[in-house]
């Protein structure tokens, strides 16, 4: 039962990947990246519960919180770059 949910989640993960490869705007790509980052860590969390493996769950939670922080830093850097170009 949880396997079916997992397959559905992977299908949901495929949509932003396709979107990121298709769209040429950098902010749309960032949007897809943020979606992918949270989806992958939730997937790992589900698998950790499925296998009853504590270590994978800890790694998933750390990736979840730290990956989002890194994403924010990247967004700030890209925005600064855009500001210099556009002004």
């Amino acid at each position: 039962m949880l396997n079916v949910a997992l397959i559905a989640m992977i299908l949901a993960l495929l949509i932003p990947i396709y979107e990121a490869s298709r769209n040429q705007d950098i902010w749309q790509k960032m949007l897809a990246l943020s979606s992918i980052a949270s989806k992958t860590s939730i997937l790992v969390l589900v698998i950790s519960v499925l296998r009853d493996d504590w270590m994978i769950g800890v790694a998933a939670v750390i990736i979840l919180s730290v990956g989002n922080a890194g994403l924010m830093l990247l967004a700030q850097t890209l925005k600064r770059m855009n500001d210099v170009v556009k002004e």
Binding site: I17, A20, L43, V44, G70, L73, V84, V85
Partner: protein, 222 residues
């Protein structure tokens, strides 16, 4: 033990990796690298290596992408030295007063440069200088990559090593000097503006260095 969803997840890894490879724009490639990092961390975690997954997420995705973003941002740039607008230095009375048309011409020229550099994913940084002398000095001392001179200033004392490509019959109002061979090739290939002529200047220095902020001790008359 090996469930079917693992195959699907591992198949995502070459997919996103090819996304990184076939991306021409460096900034888009950085975002694609972030996606690859997220997928890779997931695959490592479900294959039973949470330590590798953590390292991928922290170092491979966060640190490396940030460092590359800063490196790309500071290296893919052409610094163009221009003359400051004349109204900001009122003591320069003998110089011909640039009219509104002149500054708009310079705007057109820089926007053309910007279009050319955009094709190569570079950006243009304008650095204003007070007069033509400091502008040339900045080129010699490698503070800027390219300078854009008014023709009225350059007509006075142009005894440089520049090799002229523009015919003297059509006299463009601006002269662009660059000291980077590759920039000269790019600009010479694509610029078709009547506003400027383009010359390559060999900046005389013994050691060709890649760093721009290195001070040059000897004064070289251009």
């Amino acid at each position: 033990m090996m469930d079917s969803y693992i195959y699907v997840m591992v198949a995502l890894l070459p997919l996103t990796a090819s996304m990184v490879i076939f991306q021409a724009n460096p900034y888009h490639a950085l975002v694609a690298r972030g996606i690859l990092g997220a997928i890779a961390a997931m695959v490592y975690a479900i294959l039973g290596a949470p330590d590798v997954a953590l390292t991928e997420a922290l170092v491979g995705t966060m640190l490396a992408v940030m460092l590359y973003a800063i490196a790309v941002r500071s290296s893919l740039v052409m610094r163009l030295g221009v003359l400051k607008a004349a109204q900001s230095l009122p003591e320069d009375g003998n110089a011909p007063q640039p009219s509104q048309a002149d500054s708009s011409q310079l705007d057109i020229l820089t926007s053309q440069f910007r279009q050319i550099l955009d094709k190569h994913h570079m950006r243009l940084e304008l650095i204003p200088y007070a007069d033509a002398q400091t502008l040339r000095q900045a080129l010699i001392e490698r503070e800027v990559h390219t300078i854009c001179l008014d023709r009225s200033h350059t007509a006075l004392d142009l005894h440089s090593t520049a090799n002229h490509h523009s015919d003297s019959a059509s006299n463009p109002p601006y002269q662009t000097l660059t000291r980077i061979q590759r920039l000269y090739e790019i600009l010479n290939e694509e610029i078709q503006s009547p506003l400027t002529s383009l010359n390559y200047v060999e900046v005389p220095e013994a050691t060709p260095s890649l760093t721009n902020d290195q001070p040059v001790s000897e004064e070289v008359p251009l």
